[in-house]
Every structure is written in C-alpha cells, then in structure tokens.
Amino acid sequence: MNDEKIIEVNLLTKHFKDLRAVNSLNLNVFEGDVFGFLGPNGAGKSTTIRMLLSLIRPNEGSIKLFGKSLQKNRIEILKRIGAIVEKPDFYGYLSAYKNLEILGRISGKEISKNRIMEVLELVGLSKRYKSKVKTFSHGMKQRLGLGQALLHDPDLIILDEPTTGLDPQGMKEIRDLILHLSKEKKKTIFLSSHILHEVELVANRMIIIDKGTMKVEGEVKDLLNAKKLKVTFETDDEEKVKNLLSQSGWGSKLESNAKTVFIFSLENNEIAELNKFFVLNGIEVNAVIPTRSLEDYFLKITDEVA
C-alpha cells in the first residue's frame, strides 16, 4: 500500500426527496487497499457506490478517482474500474460468453476470446460458457458478475455485496480471489458488505456508515483488536457475585448486570483472571462471552435497522 489516493470522496451527499441516503460522507481509499465499506442494509452503501460509478448524480460533494474528478474524466476513469453493483444482472437470452464478449467490446480495451475464457475459468463457469444466463442460479450470476468486473483487468475493483447468495464454499472462494487480486495482482479493492466478519477476513482498512453518515473509519486491525473487550459472564448467584465484586477491585470493571448476567469491560488477559476469581470464590460460571466493542456497536446498528 502507498499514499496515492485511488478514491477520494469529500462531503458527498445524495437525497431522494426527503430521504438523505448519503450525508456529507468523506472517505479515502489508497492504492493497494482492500477497503471494507460496511454498514447495515439501507445505510447508503449502494447509493455511494452508484455515485462512484456515475450511475447517479450527487446533490453535493466531490468524487475523485485516480486523482481526477469523476465528473470531468468519467470515461477515462471508468476504463480503470471493474464493478459489481448490487445483484448481478445480465442479458438472460444470451450465453455467459456472449455477455462477456459484449461487455468486453465496450470496456475500452481489446478483449480476446482467450481472455474471456480465462475469466470464465477463474470464476468457475468455463464449462457453462455456452449456457444462456437465464438458466443460471443466483450464485452463478454472482460469479459471472465478478467475471465481468475483472474482464478488462481494471486497477480498481468495486464489489457491492459480492458474496450474497453464495454457499459457504463459494463465499470462501470469493474471499480467496479478493486476497489473490490484492496480494498477487496489486489491485485496489473496494468491498461493500453488511457482514463485519466478511470484511474482517480480507480488508486492511474500513469504514462503517449508518444512515448515510460515517461512524467509524480506520485500519481493520486497530478497530477490531482494541484492547478493551466487553465480556459477558453468566453466573449462578446474583447477590453473591455483587458482594464479591464490591469487596474486590473487579467491581470497577463492571459495566452492567441483569440478574445473574454480568458485563465487564476487560483487557484480553483479564478474562481468565476474573474467571479464576469467581471459581475460587465458589461462583459457578456458566458462560464467558467476549464481544469486541466494534462488533457490539455494529450489531447494535444492524439490529436497529432490522
């Protein structure tokens, strides 16, 4: 990764009548990043991606890609981008090969037959290249969507929920492919998802948005490996635990409790210590559940939307 900004978004705003889908959003993606763009459904992720790809026009703000204004250099910029936007849709009455051939012809580069077959092989569809897309399952269309995004060997790959509809094996393959594209091919990847775990596995930087505004941004390892964890202890005796805590230093670490369930703010190495403390004092600990604060926060905003 270096300091060259591939995506630079400043105060981006889009509203549909009274709904502010994206509100003064700022984000920067650097060359070589696998950038996680995280948020619950309806957070404004797809609207942002559509603006990055000039499918919709922002009401306010600016977008620069590869250091150039998208508005003024749209065609030049789009030559260097491959994208999946939401669900992959193709010409169902044409074959997978023909769909890619058509898209290849308008991609701004010469795309050979071998390249089309190479991409179909990469996404596991080479045996079905003659089949009409309308006969494909959602997962197969998703793979073909990835194929069309990679067809012209773009520098920036924008993937909007690329694992939706895939089985666990398919999800793993997509993750492996993202890592391969990033590490071996040195591509910059902008990965939108509503699943924190998915982003955590592949991204080096990420942003969380909700209701169109940025909530958290930074290095994935910093955000997810914060020292403090919220740890839930499920015990058997509320009064006894409360007494013990009041007589020890652990009381200061208690955040809340509901009957026999106690939530502490602890550092990683303190979990075992507190567990030992309870056991030695005759408390039966039924469960110890650590939750990272970011995960907790993300689940909270996701639940609010649901």
Partner: protein, 279 residues
C-alpha cells in the same frame, strides 16, 4: 459508435419479440393475398361500382401493384404497433433487466448509449418496412402479375401506367419508413421515462389512436388542430399516387416528420443524461 450499434442490433435480433413484427407481416400479407385471389375481382368491382357506367376497364387491374397499395393503406395502425413493440423496449428493457448498471459503468458516454440504441431502433423500423415491401409488392407481383395501377381517391380516378408505378412505390415505402421512424422515436422517448417496456408500447399506441381519431372527426375544431398532429403526415406517402405529385406538400410533410424525430430523440437524450439509475 459503430460497435455500439452492432451490439444493439445483435441484442435486438436475439430477442423473440423482434420477430413478432416480421412474423405478423409474414402471416398477415399472405392471408390478404389469399383473400384477394378468391375475392379480388369482387373487391375491384366494389371499388369501381360508381364509375363502371362511365369507363370500360380492360387489362389486368387486379395486379400486384393494386394489392400492394391496398395492403399499405390498411396497415397504418398495425405497423406502428409492431414498431413500438421493439422501440419501446430499447431503454426500458435494460431497466427491467437491470442491465443499465453494467452498460453505464463501462467507459462509454450516455449520449453514445442513447444514440446507438436509437439508431438501432430506426434500422429495425426500416428493415420491417423493407420486409413489408418484399412481402406485399414482390410477392404480390409474383402472385398477381403486373399491370396498371388504379387509384381512386377524393372522387378522382387515376390509372398509372405500368412503367410509371415502381418508383412511386419505392418512394412511398421510403416515406412510410420515415413515418414509422416517428413512431419509433415516440416509443423510444416513452422508453426513456419508465422502467417497464409495456408502458411505452401502450402509450405510443394510445397517442397514435387518439391522434387518428381526432383527425377523422369532421368537426371544425378537430380539423383546425389536424395539421399539428404528426399522424396526419404519416399517411402522406399517398401523395406519391397523385398526378402530378405535390412535391412541395411532400417536402413539408418530410420536414415535419423529421422535426418530430429530432425532437423526440433530443428529449429522450436529455432525460437519459440526467437520469439516476436506480434499477
């Protein structure tokens, strides 16, 4: 641009609905031919019933030219529907299928997308008219043979000599193609507004039928607005079967139809260039 037009034509001719127009003409015209084989003499007799006492008709009047002329007259409403079926789908079909996203995220301008689709639609319209000409005129001549063309309009009887007819038909079909291009442009404009192909097809037909009805109502007010309805000029191909041909009226009709095409296309282009793609 040429690549884009090729792609659009390829997509058009890979769709089943495209062939409905060709099949409809391919079925309807032979049915009319068959009917004319059995009932043609009666039809001709009916057409000339008021003038039979004044004229004696000799030669082969029930010929390929007459049949082709009658077919061209009777298909004024059918062909617009067949044109709208494809032209109304050109933009809205991409919205319905969700393929706008792939198309617009490629390094091509929206103007190029709209223009290539529009030109492909115009090419389809012309091919449909060529097919109509082949089916009605060429097949008509094979079945019924050649001869003089009898045209009766506005209490006037005109008989065109055999060697004075073909050029009139060629220009009439050419003009019909221009008229149908206006229909294609209107359907294309409606197609840029919505995300479902049914709407543009129905809307285009509604406009044409309403305009035709308004033109046909013999009330002063409707006759006043008649010159402003484009449908009034679509049937101006009939002017080629007058003698002498009123070229000034034909040029006026051509300019009005061309103006409509430019206006409908420009509006579609303006709308599409400002459109947020949400499908």
């Amino acid at each position: 641009m040429l690549t884009l037009i090729q792609i659009e034509l390829y997509k058009i001719f890979k769709k089943w609905r495209t062939y409905i127009g060709f099949i409809a003409i391919g079925v309807l015209v032979p049915i009319i031919h068959t009917a004319m084989v059995f009932e043609g003499a009666h039809t001709l007799n009916f057409m000339t019933r008021n003038i039979q006492q004044s004229f004696i008709f000799v030669g082969n009047l029930l010929n390929g030219y007459l049949v082709s002329y009658l077919i061209l007259t009777s298909l004024a409403v059918h062909i617009p529907f067949l044109v709208a079926l494809v032209a109304g789908d050109l933009l809205a079909g991409e919205a319905t299928a969700g393929t706008y996203r792939m198309l617009i995220t490629r390094p091509i301008s929206r103007t190029q997308i709209v223009t290539s689709k529009f030109l492909a639609g115009i090419i389809y319209t012309h091919l449909l008219i060529i097919w109509l000409a082949l089916m009605s005129l060429v097949v008509g001549l094979i079945i019924f043979g050649s001869g003089e063309l009898l045209v009766i309009s506005n209490q006037t009887v005109i008989i065109f000599e055999k060697n004075d007819i073909l050029w009139r038909f060629l220009l009439a079909y050419d003009f019909a193609a221009l008229g149908m291009s206006v229909v294609a442009s209107l359907a294309f404009l409606f197609s840029s507004l919505v995300e479902n192909a049914i709407g543009p097809i129905v809307s285009t037909m509604a406009v044409i039928i309403v305009f035709l009805i308004l033109s046909a109502i013999n009330i002063d007010f409707f006759q006043t607005i008649k010159p402003y309805l484009f449908t009034n000029y679509i049937l101006s191909w009939r002017l080629f079967f007058n003698t002498p041909v009123d070229f000034s009226e034909l040029i006026k009709a051509t300019l009005i139809l061309a103006g409509h095409i430019v206006f409908f296309f420009s509006l579609a282009l303006y709308i599409f260039n400002r459109k947020d793609i949400l499908t």
